[in-house]
């Protein structure tokens, strides 16, 4: 025969387990302090966002939740920003996800917890205008990263998935 106290503890554990399973079944719940999108932006909004960090080396990374290499390199951008923020580096993320996938973007940010601002490209308008404003040679493929020097001028264009070393090389060359 089991001790009544042990029975109570067992019941409590079972209840806690069931509660946890119910939460999991209901889907992820975003924590109150989860990073939020800084807003949506078009070509002008992006230029303004970069200009706000004038005097810093600004890394702008274009990503999407459906883009596997984007998801893979994102932790390296988080690490880069943490490592170099005190040395004059700012990172901005721009999601190219469609507006209908906003919840996926928010969940991605909540899971990764970047400490830099992330925007989503504003829906509609001429997509080519936006793409050309970032770089005339860009065709919208992801991931895509543009690094601006302290004077605000575009200094590096990194197409495709990058390693941490590649990001670090790009910013350190501009910090000299």
């Amino acid at each position: 025969m089991r001790h009544p106290k042990s029975e109570t503890r067992s019941s409590k554990r079972r209840a806690a387990l069931i509660a946890a399973l119910l939460v999991l079944a209901a889907g992820p719940v975003l924590a109150a302090d989860a990073p939020k999108l800084a807003g949506d932006l078009d070509a002008k909004g992006l230029a303004d966002a970069v200009a706000r960090d004038h005097g810093k080396v600004v890394v702008v990374n274009f990503w999407a939740t459906w883009c596997v290499p984007c998801r893979e390199e994102f932790p390296d951008l988080i690490r880069l920003e943490k490592t170099y923020r005190d040395r004059g580096v700012a990172v901005l993320g721009v999601s190219i996800d469609f507006a209908k996938d906003l919840s996926k973007v928010e969940k991605f940010l909540a899971a990764n917890r970047p400490e830099f601002p992330n925007y989503i490209k504003r829906a509609g308008g001429d997509d080519q205008d936006f793409i050309d404003s970032v770089d005339p040679k860009w065709g919208g493929e992801l991931p895509f990263t543009v690094v601006y020097a302290r004077d605000g001028k575009k200094a590096r264009v990194l197409s495709g998935k990058q390693s941490y070393a590649s990001f670090e090389k790009a910013v350190t060359e501009l910090l000299r």
Partner: protein, 194 residues
Amino acid sequence: MKASRALSSLLLTAALAAPALADGPAIGAPAPTFQLTTIEGKSFSLADAEKANKAVVLMFIATKCPVSNAYNDRMRDIANEYGKKGILFVGINSNNTEPESEVKSHAKEHGFAFTLVKDPGNKVADLYNAQHTPEIFIVGPDGKLLYHGRIDENQQEPAKVSSPDLKNALNEILAGQPIAKAETKAFGCSIKRV
């Protein structure tokens, strides 16, 4: 049937023996010919298709790319509309990450009635230097490239399209007029090459 497949294979090899154009064909230049097998197992020859149609629209597309998928309904509708007017549409899947079985189920799901081919080893994509999905090339009956670029400018909001570049080009071709905007910039996902 077997002999036909063998011939197709031989012709494909021959057609692709030419070196890929580093920048792809220019507007007005001969479009590289190729021969591939459709997802229904039929032989498709661009050279033959050129002779039998007012124009051939080559559409590099994907099953997984959200940008290409945003254009599924538009591609289906344009192909249905202009197919009746003597234009042939060919969807080309060059992504090594998307097998033929997936191309077939994707076509069924989205009601594609146009010809679809898988491009093993992305050789046709290389011949045209196609980089994105979706990316469009229109070839005229004389085998020359008439248009290269995007379908339109607005991937997310079809109802708000203000520059229907593919349709404009097709209308001009059917009217026997020169294409005012023969080159636009294709944008979308990168073609997943081998």
